[in-house]
């Protein structure tokens, strides 16, 4: 079992290890780079003052929330003075001169960044195979086929692999349609997507602004609460940032839930799933029933429309958001005789296949003659999906689903985009509804690969969601 943040902080307080020694341990693993989980590892010299300041705070008995904790940061968060590429050729030379809101909170709380985690290009992908810097390899191996390299999931695949391989204690990811929860599941770790509007999007390279949300990938549920306490704050720089009162997610995390809990299992999600996946749900149900939690069947009416809705709205927003990459103000410029040639050449050569595909889908569904039929219709169906979730969350407190329809697959196995998109069938609906979801490891497949389950809670109710997940984690924990 890898050390939790609270255990590491205890060791630092008791001087069993110094901040510098701790950092070096993780840095060495990150530098070995076996799984290509980092686009950039930050030089030790650039972190030395943070390390010393952190040690001073431990020495004076006043450590901060995340003091000295080595973190990975998905290469989608702008980090001041540190190259931020979104794993794209077009941003491969981009050095932001400001810090994203979320990463600034993590720095304010004393954490130390190991580096920038590889991800799918502009966070578009479910396998981390679309990165300009090459695919990330899942640290887990199929025990019946040891030499195969498997995908870590995506788009926060580098973050998930880095936490799983132990090259950072936790990593910040982003989730648009499953990009935290799906890789967390395939790499056997915890991934939390908070409610849309919880954590500021300011300084995160935009993919689909009505869906993008930052969240942690961690070794355990308690670590997710640590990170959430740091990053879940209102920010005026993001107009969709909610200004509701935040709770302390860490306190009481291991206490039993205050009231009697009812969890819904959507029967329509479980049609056509493999026995292995079904077992994850059954085991979770059995384990939690012992604690007096009641389970009921529920049924969505909109599940069959969720992926279609997502694959209209997300590309539409992406095509608009990615219009800013033109080779003029920042990013890589390709030569051209006229300004128009610079635009065309920079964009065409700067974007990879999947990003190009999504820009084209977006341009199509937003174009004259198709806007109402596709984009506007999808926005209306999105409301029906949200209403569907609200109907069910009036009957139950939480929803339990598988996180993914399958275990980690081989790199290069899924070439057809639609079969790739179907990987997100259990995570996309939650994203469309804007609800919080957490994936926790639930067991191993016959091939010895991790599988996960997802709990979905009501808007801004991350506190009880984390308490439930912590309870389930205790019951379901498996050793590597």
């Amino acid at each position: 079992m890898k050390n939790s943040i609270s255990q590491i902080k205890k060791d630092l307080i008791e001087k069993k290890i110094s901040v510098s020694e701790l950092y070096d341990e993780y840095l060495a693993k990150a530098k070995s780079g076996n799984n290509n989980s980092f686009n950039l590892v930050i030089d030790r010299e650039n972190n030395i003052s943070s390390i010393n300041e952190s040690q001073n705070r431990y020495d004076s008995g006043n450590p901060l929330l995340l003091d000295g904790i080595p973190l990975g940061i998905k290469d989608l968060f702008c980090t001041k003075g540190i190259r931020t590429t979104a794993s794209s050729k077009i941003l491969s030379n981009f050095i932001p001169n400001y810090e994203s809101f979320v990463t600034q909170q993590l720095l304010n709380d004393g954490s130390i960044f190991i580096g920038k985690n590889n991800c799918d290009e502009f966070a578009m992908g479910s396998s981390n195979e679309t990165s300009y810097f090459g695919p990330v390899i899942n640290p887990w191996k199929n025990k019946n086929s040891q030499k195969d390299n498997l995908v870590p999931g995506g788009s926060s695949g580098g973050s998930a692999a880095a936490v799983a391989e132990g090259s950072c204690v936790a990593s910040m990811g982003t989730d648009t349609g499953g990009s935290i929860r799906q890789p967390a599941s395939l790499c056997g770790i915890v991934g939390l997507k908070p409610t849309f509007g919880s954590c500021s999007r300011w300084g995160i390279v935009a993919f689909a602004s009505s869906l993008d949300q930052a969240g942690p990938l961690t070794n355990c549920v308690e670590d997710a609460a640590y990170i959430l306490n740091s990053i879940n704050k209102h920010d005026f720089n993001d107009s969709t940032s909610s200004n509701h009162q935040r709770e302390d997610y860490l306190i009481d995390i291991n206490n039993s839930l205050q009231k009697k809990i009812k969890i819904g299992i959507p029967s329509d999600y479980l049609e056509d799933v493999s026995d292995e996946i079904l077992n994850q749900i059954d085991n979770t149900k059995k384990a939690l029933s012992k604690h007096g939690i009641e389970f009921v069947d529920v049924e969505f009416k909109t599940t069959e429309y969720a992926l279609s809705t997502y694959y209209i709205l997300a590309p539409a927003e992406a095509s608009s958001n990615l219009a800013r990459y033109d080779g003029v103000r920042y990013g890589v410029r390709e030569d051209g005789e006229s300004l128009d040639d610079i635009y065309l050449n920079s964009r065409t050569k700067g974007f990879g296949d999947e990003v190009t595909r999504r820009i084209l889908i977006g341009a199509y569904v937003l174009s004259a003659g198709y806007y109402d039929a596709y984009y506007r219709q999808a926005q209306k169906v999105r409301r029906l999906i949200k209403n569907d979730f609200q109907r069910i969350l009036n009957e139950v407190d939480f929803i339990l689903t598988p996180t993914t329809p399958n275990e980690a697959f081989k790199i290069g196995d899924k070439l057809d985009p639609i079969s790739m998109y179907k990987n997100d069938i259990y995570t996309v609906p939650t994203s469309l509804a804007g609800l919080p979801g957490i994936s926790i490891p639930s067991g191993l497949s016959k091939n010895g690969l991790p599988l996960g389950v997802q709990f979905i809670g009501n808007y801004f109710e991350e506190k009880t969601l984390l308490q439930l997940a912590a309870l389930a984690e205790k019951e379901l924990s498996f050793n590597e």
Partner: protein, 93 residues
Amino acid sequence: MSDIDIKRISYLAKLKLPSEKEEFYSNSLKDIIKWVDNLKKVDTSKIEPLHNVTEKTVSIRNDEVSKSNSVDDVLSNAPERAQNFFKVPKVVE
């Protein structure tokens, strides 16, 4: 579904697809548009489009002057600059 005019779509997106890739993207787009076509059968005649999913009141900050990026900061990533400007080929004859 009508045919997809890949040249027009790529023009709208400011992309110049190499001719050997036009068919690849065209077919891919056709498949995906066909796949998402099931939304057309949903009755949404009485439904309003959803823009901001949490529908919380957008909070407005006080209008206070604050220090932000300097000209050098803003131009620090420019592929080409001339004094305090981004430099591009001549646009107006």
